[in-house]
Symmetry: C2
């Protein structure tokens, strides 16, 4: 690596560890960039970061659009700060866009948190490229932790493919569900119920009876979908919309999850996530590297068209691709 990159990285890492928000924001921008030099610099910064001084907590807040994720994060984050925590919010925001290096959310959200000196709110642009948001969020988490934030809240957008991916980068996945009229609840995105550690029925004060029915139904579904675990049994709790007391059950569940007796469980989970991330990265990079070869990409595309048109069977088409890959590997580009 060039010496100047290394020096810049060391300075940035020191500034982040000293709690300089400007350096933190600058490195979050690197994480959101698809430029190779930005990624290289960030990689060097991450290698220089000190380990966080305290145990950190990584929590995803997910749920369908309209369930009130942002207002929940605003209220919950504020209560955490009042209890002495420092909170970073990485909010995956489809309406935010990148303008000349800075990111502007279309909605003005989380005013209280955004103005607190103990909080760092970062909208993450979504939809730039496949998997790009998840990758950026994953990279921002250790940056925020090194900057001294002990609770990292990742707020998902509630649509698209990102929810399950986000669950694999946090310690605890909190699913918000809104009871609709009757005892039904909104349809829940595929795969989320299986990975939720805590389910909170929101706005439970509006119709307590419907909320209790929804909670019972969700408890049943969770028992069906999640294998029992010695480490943690997922819970369904009620969360009120209007008063701070509505957070008591959520707070209690989160505190139980992150209790000292479960610290090893959280660390094992993080290690497994790192290995899965690495394995996925390796396969994705192999694909990109080979598709960068024009012979490979042309054959892959032509064979795919033949499959779509029903002209070739998959074994035939894929063996043609194998031959081209082996030729390219033998001869070099």
């Amino acid at each position: 690596m060039a010496t100047d990159v290394s020096n810049v990285a060391i300075r940035l890492a020191q500034a982040i560890a000293a709690g300089q928000r400007r350096a933190l924001a600058q490195c979050c921008s690197l994480a959101e960039s698809i430029r190779d030099d930005d990624q290289e610099l960030l990689s060097a910064v991450l290698a220089e970061l000190p380990a966080p001084a305290r145990h950190t907590r990584r929590v995803a807040v997910t749920g369908a659009p309209g369930v009130g994720k942002s207002s929940f994060v605003e209220r919950w984050g504020t209560s955490l700060i009042n209890a002495g925590h420092s909170v970073a919010v990485l909010a995956i925001d489809p309406s935010s866009r990148r303008t000349g290096g800075s990111i502007l959310g279309d909605k003005t959200r989380m005013q209280v948190l955004a103005n607190s000196s103990h909080a760092f709110v970062r909208p993450q642009p979504s939809g730039t490229h496949l998997g790009g948001t998840a990758r950026a969020t994953r990279l921002c988490i250790p940056l925020c932790e090194a900057a001294g934030y002990d609770t990292i809240i990742v707020e998902t957008v509630g649509v698209g493919q990102s929810e399950v991916e986000v669950a694999d980068m946090v310690d605890l996945c909190l699913l918000l569900v809104l009871p609709t009229a009757g005892d039904d609840v909104q349809a829940i995105k595929r795969g989320i119920m299986e990975v939720a550690d805590v389910v909170a029925v929101t706005k439970s004060d509006l119709d307590p009876e419907a909320s209790r029915r929804a909670a019972a139904m969700l408890s049943g579904a969770m028992r069906l979908l999640q294998p029992s675990s010695e480490e943690w049994t997922s819970r369904v709790v009620l969360a009120s919309a209007v008063d701070q007391d509505g957070l008591t059950e959520v707070d209690q569940s989160v505190a139980d999850y992150f209790s000292d007796v479960r610290h090893d469980m959280v660390m094992r989970r993080r290690r497994r996530q790192q290995v899965r991330w690495y394995d996925d990265e390796v396969v994705a990079m192999m694909r990109l590297a080979l598709l960068a070869n024009s012979k490979v990409s042309q054959t892959v595309g032509e064979m795919r068209e033949a499959i779509v048109a029903g002209r070739l069977t998959v074994p035939h088409a894929s063996s043609a691709v194998v031959k081209v890959i082996q030729d390219v590997l033998k001869q070099g580009n």
Copy 2:
């Protein structure tokens, strides 16, 4: 392709199309082989096979161990044959093993079906290598269809990672659920509820009240987990263990699913499955081809160890892998 391979493939394809069970079994063995020459021959056979004379139906029967999948398949398959169908059963059997080219199931199962001239029962050995069983099953389906079997039943083993993969190679996924004591049901494997098209509560005659409660609970969970579709709304039905009448609701649901008005839906689903299979194959082959290079595989392994040990961050480790891949692609093996 060598001329002799081509000639052998044409003869095998003709024999299968003429309904010769020996040729069908021989090609199923090719599908279960990991030898390159076997796969090449099979690929040539598949290219020579005529399209099935009738519309075919591909149904997965899945559910937890002990739910009675085999006895259900035996009874249902027999009733289908009595109604004029020809049935092929591809049973993924963890207890079967390969002995000198033939496959012996440890359990003697499906005696009635196995002895019928209108049925073909093929245990598929599982656990040979990752993804191998699913691949073999996928390749056997068109072989059975070309041999004149109009209903292909894939019976899964109920444990391991194969269930969701199997659901992606059939038209209809039938999930069997056994109500346990009380109104609870057995825990259901991750991801299966989302892909089930029909859920049958088995042995519903033993405790009708518990079965009805389980069915109501399952219906609720399905509404939560599956987005509504104009094409097909998943159903929960009751299936009795002791009398043929217990199959009526299952038969009715399957017949509705495969009604002429839905034929286009089934064909679209198959086309999507082929494209997904191709895309997955391409990525898997790219990975294998690159890992066959010793420099690549060594770096991938070393970097993975560094991740497991917590010595490197994922961006650092994966950028080291990228550099080696690009070197290999530039210079050739």
